[in-house]
């Protein structure tokens, strides 16, 4: 008999499966579960975008297309970034259209790392960074952010972790799972420090359109930072286009020309229909995005208010579509809390610990759900907390 354990690479066997996945495999087998777990919009892709895709199907030959993406889309992406941040990327040499933001992150990491290179991973964060670093032979170095700073990254958080092997700082803001954002003032000291180094920044700005009360600021806008930043964004969150699998990476030409080889050999090109539709997203859907943001904002204020009322203190997140209430007052670990909440009162939330050790004591609540759904969830959580309270007595 074949021994698969010997067939598989040690590297892949050592990669831990996603902590989110594990939890939701259980939830998926249960009835009447109210989930607060997903990381994708509940809105449908705006009709103008879907119509553009239908027209492509009707009228065009569905081909591979250029490796780096359709010229029309690369031009639109370049113009979009320039309008948003005042920073220009050459659409021919400094942009790759990728299969979601995830591929863009993978390209950046694989393109930069040699075995043993270190990557500063700002936590809590989305689950993909550290495993991708390990797959590329690198060493993820965890950089915890703290509630005292509203989960923003400060220079003190990572200064002492920089070594001569540090290649990359991963900057995931607006943040999944905390909802934290970085302002210009927050980014300046970090940029000041990095300017004297050879450390690159991977700025994952996939939630950049979803901010509340202030416009998103990108580190590429700061002097000297465009040349040391790999900028990642995509269509999934802002335009409710998760299933279309489309993102992009922009960076200085010497980087793009090298990492495009990974994309070329591993992926070939991003989906043709999605790319055509995405031009419509960037050029004609500002109003739709604005409407979604308004709706998210109503839900966000509601949840922050309710969790604070219930005694699960919740800082005011200014981006993404998550709130990150603290469950330390219950005396449980986040995994225990979320497990009991799921089994006893049928609400599925992701334990903060799934996003790094600094997420321990918190849970991630997605508000990519209708108000009706969120209100029912809060009702159940309140019931659960009352039960915990009674147990204590």
């Amino acid at each position: 008999m074949i021994d698969y354990d010997k067939v598989l690479s040690n590297k892949i066997k050592d990669i831990k499966p996603s902590g989110i996945r594990k939890f939701f495999d259980i939830a998926g087998t249960m009835d009447d579960v109210i989930s607060l777990g997903v990381g994708e919009p509940d809105f449908n892709t705006p009709w103008a975008i879907r119509k553009a895709a239908i027209q492509v199907l009707e009228r065009k030959h569905i081909i591979y297309g250029p490796n780096k993406g359709l010229a029309s889309l690369r031009n639109t992406i370049s113009a979009h970034i320039e309008k948003k941040h005042g920073v220009k990327y050459d659409p021919d040499k400094e942009v790759i259209v990728t299969v979601g933001g995830s591929e863009a992150i993978d390209l950046a990491i694989r393109g930069l790392l040699d075995p043993g290179d270190e990557v500063l991973v700002v936590e809590p964060c989305f689950v993909c960074y550290a495993p991708l670093v390990e797959l590329a032979g690198g060493v993820p170095v965890s950089v915890p952010t703290r509630i005292e700073n509203n989960f923003k990254l400060t220079l003190d958080d990572f200064k002492d972790k920089v070594t001569d092997r540090t290649k990359l700082l991963i900057l995931p803001f607006p943040n999944n799972p905390t909802g934290a954002v970085m302002t210009k003032e927050d980014l300046e000291p970090i940029a000041d420090f990095l300017r004297d180094t050879n450390i690159m920044v991977l700025s994952d700005e996939i939630y950049s359109e979803l901010t509340y009360g202030r416009k998103h600021f990108s580190i590429i806008e700061l002097e000297g930072m465009r040349e040391r930043t790999i900028y990642v964004n995509g269509f999934s969150k802002a335009y409710a286009m998760t299933g279309w699998r489309l993102g992009y990476v922009t960076a200085p030409e010497p980087i793009i020309s090298q990492i495009s080889k990974i994309h070329q050999y591993g992926i070939m090109c991003s989906p043709f229909i999605s790319q055509n539709a995405a031009v419509e997203a960037l050029t004609a859907c500002d109003k739709e995005v604005e409407k979604m943001v308004e709706e998210y904002n109503i839900r966000r204020r509601y949840l922050v208010g309710e969790f604070n009322r219930l005694g699960l203190t919740c800082f005011n997140p200014e981006g993404a579509f998550y709130v990150f209430p603290c469950i330390k007052s219950t005396g449980m670990t986040s995994e225990e809390f979320c497990e009991r909440l799921l089994f006893e009162d049928r609400v599925a939330a992701v334990p903060g610990s799934a996003f790094g050790e600094s997420g321990e004591g918190y849970m991630r609540i997605s508000y990519a759900y209708s108000l009706k759904h969120l209100m029912e969830a809060i009702r159940r959580i309140e019931k659960f907390l009352k039960k915990l309270e009674a147990e204590k007595k």
Binding site: S236, I298, Y302, V304, E306, A368, M375
Partner: protein, 158 residues
Amino acid sequence: MKDIVKILQQNARISNAALGEMLGISAEAAAAEIEKLEKSGVIKGYSVIVDDDLYDKSTVYATIELKVTPQRDCGFDDIAKTIMMYDEVESVSLMSSGAYDLAVEVKGNDLKDVAFFVSERLATIDGILSTSTHFILKKYKEKGIFIDGEEPDERGLG
């Protein structure tokens, strides 16, 4: 103000406290805003959306298209106002189609009820030239709410 109406349209029974949280204001301020909207007439009332298949299977709805002769001085208003006084009438709207002028939604206990109402009450009003009755077989969505329940959530966990 737009946000308040949007939230109430989804759920008019929401508490003032929750409404306040959603808007970032106090419960008292939310109550005051609602009162203002009611007084100024923006909010006309609160209703309930019922699945008649579960509540009262025999209830029938019909849309009736009416061709009307507009009256001197008051156009279609006078006839519309006459029609809307009937309890059986759920809604009356002036249409721009040219094929007909007024669309009337009627509710009755059974088919006969509605048919009788159309022939005896509506068709006999002065100025009504013709009627065309369409019975509603099934309602899929009403006021933004899916009558047969929501679609299953197939989203993953990204």
